[in-house]
């Protein structure tokens, strides 16, 4: 059973949990969202700061304040590593790739090139109750980013 647990709680996950990257809420930001996992109560408040790049908007910063389990905390930390500095289009691709991994029930082979530390979550896909934990931060990021872009359009 320890093997089963170890598949879920990879070292990388526990490291990010204990030392989360990019934590805290920072200025400047264009959108702030608050997401909750209704079943368990895990919460994240997340801000996105985009800047203009040559190929469209770029994720300049993602900052957050989160309450939750090891999986949701670590996934949010890894997410910030993956999206900050990328163009929104690239970051959305990474998001799609991570979503596919999470929804694959353990059958999808993760691509380390794209997902980097995110591959540590491959084991989570086998625990349906925890998939939502791993996606909480990502959903918040996507929501905040979409809001920023839409508001931008409105202006």
């Amino acid at each position: 059973m320890s093997a089963e647990l170890d598949a879920l709680y990879q070292e990388i996950i526990l490291d990010h949990y204990k030392n989360p990257h990019h934590q805290g809420l920072r200025d400047p930001f264009e959108a702030e969202v608050h997401h909750v996992n209704p079943t368990c109560g895990d919460e994240v408040t997340l801000r996105v700061h985009l800047t203009d790049g040559p190929d469209g908007p770029v994720v300049d910063d993602v900052s957050y304040d989160a309450l939750g389990c090891s999986i949701s905390q670590a996934a949010t930390s890894v997410m910030t590593d993956l999206v900050i500095g990328k163009s929104v289009a690239e970051a959305m691709d990474v998001h799609a790739e991570f979503l596919t991994l999470m929804q694959g029930k353990g059958t999808v082979e993760p691509d380390e090139e794209v997902l980097e530390d995110g591959i540590a979550f491959a084991g989570v896909a086998k625990f349906p109750a925890r998939v939502k934990c791993a996606l909480l931060g990502w959903m918040a990021w996507k929501d905040a980013t979409t809001q920023t872009l839409t508001n931008g359009d409105d202006q």
Binding site: V36, P38, T39, C40, G41, P128, A129
Partner: protein
Amino acid sequence: MIDGLLPDLEVVRKDFPILTRTTPAGLPLVYLDSANTSQKPQVVIDAMVDHLERHNANVARAMHLLGAEATEAFEGGRDRVASFLGAPSREEVVFTKNASEALNLLANTFAWAGEHQLGPGDVVVTTEMEHHSNIVPWQLVTERTGAELRWFGLTDDGQLDLTNIDELLTEHTKVVTLTWVSNMLGTINPVAEITRRAHEVGAVVVLDASQAAPQLPIDLAAMPEAERPDALVFTGHKTVGPTGIGVLWGSRALLESLPPFLGGGEMIETVTMERSTYAGIPHKFEAGTPPIVEAVGLGAALEYLDGIGMEAIQRHEQAITGYALEGLATVPGLKVLGPTDAHARGGAVSFEIDGVHPHDVAQVLDSRGVAVRAGHHCAKPAHARFGVQSSSRMSSYLYTTPADIDALVEALNYTRSYFTLG
């Protein structure tokens, strides 16, 4: 051999343990009350037993092994409903306790603040052939909001009278709600046409598919959008599933625009004493512990029906209904209420016998092992329309045989001879 019967009828019958029952007098059971509730195949019972004996837990909230298994089984039931209806999205499938609750859910959420809130000047349109469950909720909501309830009348041959459709469907019409198949007259209504007309005036269309879902193939996604209802309901126990579960399918646009109905566990996003926010669909409308073992049973039931094929079931129903209409026509003094063309109707056939009250008909039939329903079948206005207070009703399903119909006809003749006319 009658054309259109299920080829494996005897095999199908073996799937239903209750059909081997006999009456206290030792007679075989002739169950002709399936429009009231259907019998259950062994696979449905077994699925429920397996769930209760091996996988029982609460859903969504539980993270442990049994909780994960129960959640998967429960949500698997939702997937099965979605595919049974051809629903554009599984999230549009809401579990209720029965069809009646689904209709009340809609009527109630139209009462409260929101895009669709009813008020004075607004009109809700229903029909005179509805089940009470598609009349009373709308009487309550129109009375409580000051809106007006209007309805399509019926023609003498049991069809909707559409001559005044332009008066009924106007820009004041906010909701049009009607049954797809009548549980009393058997009439199949032109729901695509009415939906299209209702959509033209901007009304929300609600279809009561309680009698349609057991009998007709339904494919929501394949319907042209203008003819697709905004909501459709049916009930588990009439589709060889258990009691305690019903289905509300609603388009995402409709469901997202309605306020919550029942409040409580499972339907929230966050709760403080001062204020709550709500989960997304379908959970927003599923307060409290849902019908878990019932969803497992319903999933198995719809899988069973899909396995046989809804087209095949429809053909079987038509064949049996045709055979029944012929048989009933041989009984002197018997009058069928509703359409007499088996291809243009569902499998519920209501009738009167001169001089014998429906209760007495049902009683004598029951003494011969033949189970039919007698009374108003929860459709008093439709009975009143035809000047009768009650009727007898036979209704068939995928396990009904021509021999069942023969037994009915023989018992009806016996009734006449026994009772008043002997």
